[in-house]
Symmetry: D2
Subunit: 305 residues, 4 copies
């Protein structure tokens, strides 16, 4: 970490060059960091090397080359594989290597990895993101970080290369906890807005009038104010574009499944969170997992038969 | 209506001098209107007469004396009785009498009364309020009005004596529709915030940190921003005062029951609205109907056994 | 009623000759009763007159001709119209006329009619049926009767012409209450079986093995034992015939809406009943209201994408 | 296994001598088997040795002494510890050792253990039970077995010493799947019966009359027929004994949490299962985890305030 604390520039290992990760990696390079990257998809690696990154043959190879590692992977089996698998990070990671996992995964799975890292004196912190592909591209992501105060200060400059809001949620695991909580509430609110708009329209209210009333009353929420799921209420968002783009229903279902796991683990009552999970899962099972999560309005809508 | 359009002052009949109505009637007097009032409770009438109002012996007696009538009653049986019962308004109401019902009642029940009024050439409009007893006292209520454009313009000056936001929701019945929709979304959001905060705290997050993250993220809503149900997150609101005062769980259950009636009537899917209704009803059945509706947090809270 | 108590044969007025009612009327004729019938659909009336019934011009005309009246109508607006409307039964009904309403309608609506009947000294009892069109044809219906003990004994012989089980559920209104309760539990159980079978199959269990285990264990219910909603588990029932025939989802939604009204009216918690209502309503809104209610399995099924 | 197949008598290792396990172990001894036992609680071991069993110092010690092992433990961390922990079974288990796990645990956790057993050529099958402490004592348990056909035939004679119904649910894992499915449906049905009875009683129906109608109609289920949760409907069951004894709400919550895990794992929609889980969890969080699961009736009951 010497390089970093002195010059704020470092050699960073980056694993996971998907839709989000590729942009994040580029932004690190743009800010002057050197990168060594890994992805199971060679094509993705090639594109980054053209942009100035070095490639590596495996997470183990990458970990042998740097003590600063960022991972951005789709789900916990991938994270397990990258850290604990054959040729995984922990095979070669040096003492005091600092790993930042930006994946959104199960809290318990994350803690298990953190514990195994700790046994080898490797730092592991969770820093899941929100803000979507656009936020990744524009370096305007929000990071919710689970780390000690000291670690948070060390990590923060890296994350600031990729995002705008770097939030300290608490200790290890709390970054994930915060993200999962937020997205559970978001999933609930969106269904709430969808069924409220549907009821109101069925009662004969004008959609813009109703949206206006909600937004100046106690029913207002992010989903009603900036992401109303009824087509035509707000222009330029996925619900007004046939629910293309945006935050996919399948990903919402995944995040809500993490909330369900957390609620089982902690014996917490989450009745509406459970229902919301079942709804987005059902929408996904029906073949609409790629649709923006506002699609729940279309799904619930009273059809005129 | 001559008086009103010329001088903006009129003789107004006011029926229903409860917690809300008494304040509303006083505010009309304060703005210079003359009032003739009625309530089943003599005590309430006496207090208003001391304040300058005239009393009447029945709704029919009141309707014989004025063509401008405002009603503010707890539920639709009371409204039925006052309009349609023995010595009710419709026994004596003159042609072109204008009735404004500020009660929050079943939409279908309201429409039935409106139709019977129309048969006698009596105007009837719905203008339910939000803002609570404090809003009634301070004349800062919001009125959601169901009326034609013309009627809305006639009604508005009266309502401005008692409130700050006079919203035109649409035709007859749409004031109630808008209020019921808003409160359904509010009821859902509050439970959503309650279970999200509970989950987060069970996961070890600090309550103010989590509230802060939600309020700067896509989970934010009125219930998280200005009415967080966890004691101590926001001072000076009912959740920080043992859930005393505020918007009672029993009244939320009542408003959600109106939403359920509306969803049955229109065949609209309201899964979370239904669940929310069952929760507040259950809380009320358990003996907590007088507690502020944020009590749902205490209700759902993971207890340490 | 003289004829009846003496000879057990009477002149009976029958209103409502739909899928169910036509069969019920025929069965009364088969048992030797004389019938005078009414329906808004002339075709239906003609078919019954060919079978020996006399026709009438209106409910009022029918009520002028007989003191024993049975009504079998689709929903409470029809029942209101037939009893209380222009040329309705109450315009002409003689004192001590005995009305048996076999329709499945809202309890409160039924009570209102009963009260108005009582004011004219007309008996009114609720006796909704279960057993479907086949049960109507085969005279194997179950009748759930709301009546005093004395009235029940008077009514019973009539109903025995059309059904096999004549159950005394309690006083006026209790026949409907019993039917609504049973169907709410049925609606819940069917969804329960559907999601249990779906989960089990997703876990790799064989459908017949799982059905067998449930049916010999504590999970067993009517829906699992005689009406398993998974195609191919039980032959000869609607789920094995593309969900054609059987008890329509739309009718289940209607019965559950009556349960919701009853739960609102009595402030009773019915969380699963509410969810069940929303599911069947949603299925109906999606265009599947004619499908047998076991279709909820197909609806919930985990699709392989 | 030579002993067993020849003489049907064997040396069996038994781990987990709790409320259920102690009875099961005794029944094996009664049928003539020799037992070597282990439990973390010495007292429990002592009681079994008085009954003729030999003791062992650890699961590893036990596994060194016998190739037939039955485990009956409260939850998956215990099972992990016993099989995979220090001095666990897999430290010493000989090739072809046959392990039967009768615990009710997470399916994925069970499969992980099975895979690790397979790596050492140790057989591992799931055979969870139902029937409660009484069934364990009377040797009338039901075992739901996940095993190949061949393995099932080998295992069956052991299980027949402890139970009456030995059901072959399918391959490894399917015993747990079947039990979890059954208990999910049971949990749903019980709430369904509870809210139906509550609604009916609120509507004025007599509890025994309503129960009778349900039990002869399409609403009938095990929970209504043999375990009606309303006190006084059926004598001699926990609901008529202040919900003491029986199947604890906390254990139902646990089984439903396993169903939730399975539904997350397989992306299956289980909306009512999720709600049921939240209800029993909430009841447990409120301090009633020891009450029989029929307590959900008392919990939902409309109180007269």
């Amino acid at each position: 970490m010497v390089n970093l604390t002195q010059s704020r520039l470092a050699l960073i290992g980056f694993i996971g060059l998907g839709n989000m990760g590729a942009h994040m990696a580029r932004n690190l390079i743009k800010k002057g960091h050197e990168l060594v990257v890994y992805d199971v998809n060679n094509q993705s690696v090639n594109e980054l090397t053209k942009f100035g990154a070095k490639s590596s043959e495996s997470p183990a190879d990458l970990a042998a080359k740097t003590q600063n590692i960022i991972t951005m992977l789709p789900s916990h089996p991938h994270v397990n594989e990258v850290y604990l698998g054959k040729k995984g990070i922990l095979e070669t990671a040096q003492k005091s290597t600092r790993c930042i996992d930006c994946s959104t995964i199960d809290i318990e799975a994350s803690k298990r990895i953190a514990n195994l890292c700790a046994e080898k004196s490797v730092y592991f912190n969770d820093a899941p993101v929100s803000g979507g592909v656009k936020g990744a591209e524009m370096a305007t992501l929000t990071f919710m970080v689970g780390a000690s105060k000291t670690d948070f200060e060390v990590i923060k400059p890296f994350l600031e290369c990729m995002g705008k809001n770097i939030v300290h949620a608490g200790d290890m695991g709390h970054g994930l906890a915060a993200k999962i909580c937020n997205n559970m509430l978001l999933g609930i609110s969106m269904i709430g807005v969808a069924e409220t708009m549907n009821l109101g329209l069925s009662l004969g209210l004008d959609k813009k009038v109703l949206a206006g009333i909600l937004n100046t009353s106690s029913g207002r929420c992010w989903s009603s104010e900036v992401y109303n799921p009824v087509p035509g209420v707000i222009e330029g968002i996925p619900p007004s574009n046939n629910y293309e783009g945006g935050f996919q229903s399948g990903l919402m279902a995944k995040d809500l499944s993490l909330a369900q796991n957390a609620s089982v683990e902690t014996h917490s009552s989450t009745p509406l969170g459970s229902m919301a999970y079942n709804f987005y899962k059902h929408i996904s099972n029906q073949g609409y997992s790629k649709k923006d999560f506002g699609y729940v309005y279309e799904y619930l809508r009273t059809k005129k038969n």
